[in-house]
């Protein structure tokens, strides 16, 4: 198995992950791996797994949770094959699937004991066979109340049912796992302060990342690319 350097961006629903990832994509020298949503929505024309999951969670939780994390690994593998030496920044991970979402689904009674066991069996095998130890987690940390406010503002249809109670439960899972339950380096970014419309705040967050995980993760060397073209011009 080839050596992959992977950083995973984690955080609650509504924290502003998409906006954050866009900023990372523009400023850092890395390969982005987004959640493979389309792989969950169109299953070769046979239906939409995400719809089934939302419509009858108890019936489809195991199917969705197990398929979701396997497709994450597929996506990372597929992109890594295209750029074998790139550092990957990945939107969520098999780890947050396991330690936050699937665990919560089990506690809520949406996966029974047997399904949880089978799920964990898959997880152990797949992580053992496919995954390197992560280089780091970037934890976008917010109060659940902030997430709820942002969710209401963006009003995506599939998120209308998300309650403060659920966000709080997810928040606690993230806290337990990332602040106490892992030996991978975790960079905690305070995302209660709005960063979506504040370029200075965005620059601060990026600097915190490069301070913590540089030189593996570094900003795109834009200046040198510019210089190169000027030199070329001068030689004419």
């Amino acid at each position: 198995m080839k050596h992959k350097q992977q950083f995973f961006v984690e955080g609650n629903i509504g924290v502003g992950k998409s906006t954050f990832l866009k900023i990372v994509e523009e400023t850092l020298d890395c390969q982005m791996v987004f959640e493979p949503h389309e792989k969950w929505q169109d299953i070769n024309g046979a239906g939409n797994l995400l719809h089934h999951f939302y419509a009858d969670t108890q019936r489809w939780a195991y199917t969705f949770q197990s398929y979701a994390f396997i497709t994450r690994v597929m996506e990372q593998d597929m992109l890594a094959a295209q750029r074998p030496h790139a550092v990957q920044v990945v939107e969520r991970s098999v780890f947050s699937d396991r330690y936050c979402f699937a665990q919560l689904a089990t506690e809520a009674g949406n996966m029974n004991k047997l399904e949880w066991q089978v799920y964990q069996h898959w997880f152990d095998w797949l992580v053992g066979a496919h995954m390197e130890k992560p280089a780091g987690f970037i934890y976008l940390r917010t109060a659940p109340e902030t997430c709820l406010k942002r969710l209401k503002k963006r009003a995506r249809s599939e998120e209308t049912g998300v309650s403060l109670e659920y966000l709080t439960a997810l928040h606690n899972k993230h806290e337990n796992w990332l602040l106490r339950g892992t030996d991978v380096p975790v960079l905690v970014l305070d995302c209660d302060i709005d960063f979506e419309h504040d370029e200075n705040r965005q620059a601060e967050l990026i600097k915190q990342i490069t301070d913590a995980f540089g030189p593996v993760l570094r900003t795109v060397p834009k200046a040198s690319a510019c210089q190169f073209s000027i030199e070329n011009l001068e030689s004419f």
Partner: protein
């Protein structure tokens, strides 16, 4: 990543085709490692719930969980056994392939796996087979008529097989035939499984010779040794 393995054979055949007796003969006469079908894992569970039971009682609800779990256990076993080279060759009782092309395909044909679940299952197979299943050197198809399989099941009287109808064996038989005798690119030795179980030494030797000759097992000794020194 596909593994390099000494020599890998898959033994395929219906329930009651005579696989266990056949495996015993090969194990006695050839230096091979046998991977038995991980049946015990589908029945044993840490608590009272048993996935095989659930599947039989309510196949529509549990087919996907059952089929993905059997897939996982087969993949696990293959990975463990094909990464060790302490035998001249490895023979596997069934395989992730027959799990897919015979059993899961039949579960789908019966309507227990929905089209969506079948697509999910197949997309997992496509990805995982490419990385975790070593292409076998060959396959042995123990071809036995469903009626004879059915008779044998009634004689041996294993608890979980006692209620299997002849119709189910016929469906599985058809899946085996389509897959193994149809368009596929793995050398396959077809053996008649309708004959009564072999007891005399001479017939056993004959059977072993058929297998050795077909797959060139005797001749492989020297080259294999060179590769794995």
């Amino acid at each position: 990543m596909p593994f390099v393995t000494a020599l890998m054979l898959f033994l395929e055949g219906n329930i009651g085709a005579g696989k266990s007796s056949f495996l015993q003969i090969l194990a006695d006469h050839l230096n091979c490692k046998v991977i038995f079908e991980p049946h015990h894992r589908w029945q044993a569970s840490d608590d009272s719930e048993n996935i095989l039971d659930l599947f039989y009682k309510n196949p529509k609800r549990w087919a996907y969980t059952f089929e993905t779990y059997t897939l996982l256990t087969r993949l696990c076993d293959h990975q463990v056994h094909t990464s060790k080279h302490d035998h001249q060759f490895v023979i596997s009782e069934r395989s992730p392939y027959s799990g897919r092309y015979c059993f899961a395909a039949n579960t789908h044909a019966q309507g227990h796996l929905t089209d969506l679940e079948w697509e999910l299952y197949q997309s997992l197979c496509d990805h995982l087979f490419a990385q975790h299943v070593a292409k076998p050197t060959g396959m042995i198809y123990l071809k036995t008529s469903p009626e004879i399989c059915y008779k044998r099941l009634n004689i041996r009287n294993r608890k979980e097989e006692s209620t299997l109808p002849l119709e189910y064996l016929e469906q599985l038989h058809a899946k085996h035939e389509t897959w193994l005798l149809g368009k596929q690119d793995i050398p396959t030795l077809v053996l008649d499984g309708n004959l009564p179980y072999l007891h005399d030494n001479e017939s056993k030797q004959h059977l072993v010779k058929l297998v050795s000759d077909f797959f060139g097992i005797g001749k492989l000794n020297e080259t294999q040794a060179a590769v794995f020194c």
